[in-house]
């Protein structure tokens, strides 16, 4: 009964966008008066309202799994292009809505506490409001992205989240990650924006191709028309779409922006650059499943690209010292898993991993934020005990990087809650039974072993490295001696921060329950079955699961052997440096990809731009063509027209005319004597003449 009537909830769907927008507007208008608590409450309530609506939509879908398309307004009507602003409510989009708004709400709550301290360490509490405005804006546009009923609406959201990402990466735009005055963060934001732009270009081309060949951008119409397309066209569409995916979901070759995106505040890293926005590419592939499924070549390319990204990013993660950078590369790696999964056609597995990853990666980032705050607190307290005046200490006396794992150590004693939730996140990410990551990663590996064996092997290696770098991180951060006074004085975070962490930890631990590979428990699979036409529900495979578990445990053991058996002391080199030699240098320096891009693309591009600007545009167009040819030519022509033509001919004519008129009037004015009788006489002469004419006629 309740379920049958629940379809009314479908009409609530616009509120998933309007609720956060409302929160954003309220904070924009009244944020100054609300105070920090008020701002945070409004923003969190707005995100929470979106979550509530998502839950209601999910309830409605339980009764009407076929979903609904809720038309909100007519949008574009140009010739054959007819698009509505319509919300698509189906199991796939609602899954994304639940993740985005659910995790988003928790992160909003977390940010209330986090930003409170962050703005004080950065000495600019005025930006507190702006942060939540941006965050609500992000939720709104992300909701547009996942709920759009056509590729153009999806693109609006796609661009919107890109903008939100840009704004939030550059949130501390006038300093670097350590708070020193610099444009480093702004540059990171620009880098993210530009890299995303390259991807957006691919997305747009794909959308153009779709419209050109099918004549519509509405999902159902596109999917209905796709099978009729030539294979080459399909491959082109998917490859260009893949460029878009690579941009947004940080895959090779466009992943480079994501590590730099860690310049944003940690809740941003957790929400946008780990849990939600970067999964938009995965969502896009899953949404476009009917297109990708038609082209085996496309599936091969996508799956391979994802797998290679997964392994490649994992190797870099091993060599990083920044706690957030490790997680960033881990995110790239895990996104590679998801992309590989949806590329293989294992959409359920991909979405499953997307959901669990949202839980545990958000958890890890937020915990890392908690660790960083703890270190900041320890750092400031350590100093204030010596110097006394806390205000002067706001200026960093020495360069202290609270995110550098070499400054940490032994934090499990100072920050027990953070430690335990971090452990849960680590085990979930490493894929240890029975945490969420185990189930989702296992499903991807199982699918890979069936469809693309080479992808399976690459992903397994990536999974091994995942467990290893997470183990390395845990040992370096929470165990061993404190390698810096700040670590020794670190303090646990307040409940507003730890409570969301605990909730996320529970989700990370139990998230696997939504799709256990046991017949009858594959809820997510059955749920998505309503939207995705082909869903494989694979049974549990002991061999694959066992092998991956063994690999993960081995990696954790290896990391213990290297990092914990003889704990690192202050200033020690990384124990990996010696055995791996040059390879570790590469890992540490991200395989010099940024430098390679700098050398191969950016510098030639800059040189080309400079050539175009200075030589082609300035010297050739401005100096030569414009100044020499056009200007002087024009001046010459103007002079010719002015002097001989205008003065000589045109003026001459009018001057002559004027002279003639003047001379004539000089003569004629003599007739105007002013004597009335002369005038009368001339009238009489006229009369006489007329009468004479009449007489002689």
């Amino acid at each position: 009964m309740f379920l049958s009537e629940s379809s009314r909830f479908f009409t609530l769907v616009p509120w998933i966008v309007f609720a956060p927008l409302l929160g954003m507007v309220v904070n924009m208008l009244f944020g100054k008066r609300l105070g920090e608590k008020g701002i945070g409450t409004v923003a969190s309530l707005a995100a929470g309202a979106a979550f509530l609506v998502s839950v209601l939509l999910a309830v409605a879908l339980a009764g009407h799994p076929e979903g609904a398309i809720v038309k909100f307004a007519e949008w574009i009507q140009i010739g054959p292009l007819a698009l509505d602003w319509a919300f698509r409510v189906d199991t796939l989009s609602v899954t994304m809505m639940l993740v985005v708004s659910g995790v988003g709400t928790l992160i909003h709550i977390y940010a209330i506490g986090y930003m409170r301290e962050d703005v004080r360490y950065k000495n600019d509490p005025g930006r507190y409001n702006r942060f939540f405005v941006f965050m609500n804006f992000f939720i709104a546009v992300m909701m547009i992205l996942v709920s759009g009923d056509n590729y153009l609406m999806l693109f609006v959201g796609w661009e919107g989240v890109g903008l939100a990402s840009y704004l939030l990466i550059g949130f501390w735009y006038d300093m670097d990650t350590l708070g020193r005055p610099s444009w480093a963060n702004a540059n990171a934001a620009t880098k993210a924006f530009v890299a995303n732009r390259v991807g957006d270009f691919g997305f747009l081309i794909a959308a153009f191709l779709i419209f050109w060949n099918i004549g519509s951008l509405q999902f159902d119409a596109v999917f209905a028309g796709a099978p009729a397309l030539a294979p080459e066209i399909l491959l082109l569409i998917t490859v260009f779409m893949l460029i878009g995916v690579a941009g947004k979901s940080a895959q090779i070759p466009l992943y480079v922006w994501l590590p730099d995106a860690m310049a944003g505040p940690t809740p941003v890293s957790a929400l946008i650059h780990a849990a939600t926005m970067v999964t938009a590419g995965v969502y896009l592939v899953a949404r476009s499943a009917p297109i990708f499924s038609l082209s085996h070549d496309a599936q091969y390319i996508v799956a391979t690209l994802g797998a290679v990204t997964a392994l490649f990013a994992a190797t870099i993660a091993v060599g990083q010292y920044d706690i957030k950078k490790v997680l960033a590369y881990s995110t790239i790696s895990q996104l590679g898993f998801m992309v590989a999964a949806v590329g293989m056609g294992a959409y359920v597995a991909g979405m499953f991993h997307l959901v669990t990853h949202a839980f545990f990666k958000a958890l890890l980032f937020l915990s890392a934020g908690s660790v960083i705050l703890g270190l900041e607190r320890g750092h400031h307290q350590g100093h204030s005990s010596d110097a006394g005046d806390p205000h002067e200490l706001a200026e960093p006396v020495e360069t202290f990087d609270p995110a550098d794992m070499r400054n940490m150590g032994g934090l499990r004693r100072q920050m027990p809650v953070t430690f335990w939730v971090y452990m849960i996140g680590t085990l979930a990410l490493a894929g240890i039974f029975p945490f969420a990551g185990f189930w989702s990663k296992d499903e991807i590996l199982l699918d890979a072993s069936l469809h693309f064996p080479h992808v399976y092997w690459i992903l397994s290696a990536a999974a091994f490295l995942t467990a290893f770098y997470m183990g390395r991180q845990v040992w370096m951060v929470f165990f061993g001696p404190a390698r810096h006074p700040a670590a020794a004085h670190a303090q646990e975070s307040p409940p507003v921060i730890t409570v969301p962490l605990i909730i996320l930890a529970v989700l990370s631990a139990l998230g696997g329950l939504i799709n256990l590979p046991v017949s009858g428990f594959q809820q997510l699979g059955h749920w998505l079955e309503h939207t995705l036409s082909e869903v494989e529900l694979l049974p549990f495979n002991g061999a694959i699961a066992g092998l991956s578990t063994v690999l993960a445990l081995a990696a954790l053991a290896l990391s213990w052997f290297l990092y914990q058996r003889k704990p690192l002391e202050t200033g020690d080199p990384d124990p990996l440096a010696k055995p791996l030699g040059l390879a570790f240098v590469g890992m540490q320096n991200k395989w010099f990809i940024d430098e390679a891009y700098q050398f191969v693309i950016i510098r030639p591009y800059a040189r080309l731009a400079k050539f175009l600007a200075e030589t082609l545009d300035w010297d050739f167009l401005h100096e030569w063509l414009h100044d020499s040819i056009i200007v002087s030519g024009f001046v010459g022509l103007a002079r010719f027209l002015a002097d001989p033509v205008d003065l000589g001919v045109v003026d001459k004519i009018s001057t002559l005319l004027a002279d003639w008129v003047r001379e004539t009037s000089e003569t004629l004015r003599e007739m105007q004597t002013g004597f009335v009788r002369h005038y009368a006489l001339s009238v009489l002469v006229g009369v006489v003449a007329i009468l004479g004419y009449l007489l002689l006629k």
């Binding site: 004629l668 004015r669 003599e670 007739m671 105007q672 004597t673 002013g674 004597f675 009335v676 009788r677 009368a680 006489l681 009489l684």
Partner: protein, 100 residues
Amino acid sequence: MIPISYYLILSAILFSLGALGVLLRRNALVIFMSIELMLNAANLTFVAFSRLYGSFDGQIFVFFVMAVAAAEVAVGLALVVAIYRSRNTIDIDSMNSLKG
């Protein structure tokens, strides 16, 4: 019976005399009188033709001419008065300030 042409020739003579009066005299008042003379000569032809063709139209036209003449004299004499006030003469040869 007097032929109509007699009246017409008489009015031609009167009109010519009026025209000469306008041209020869310098006294604005006399010029006005000469104009009235010319109007009368014209009226005479109207009435004569009215008689010739047995129609009222000529007489009615004379009636309107008289009305217009009355208006003209009223305005004209007011002008003469105004001019005399400002220049203290009505000699029209002394009024040539509109000379070209």
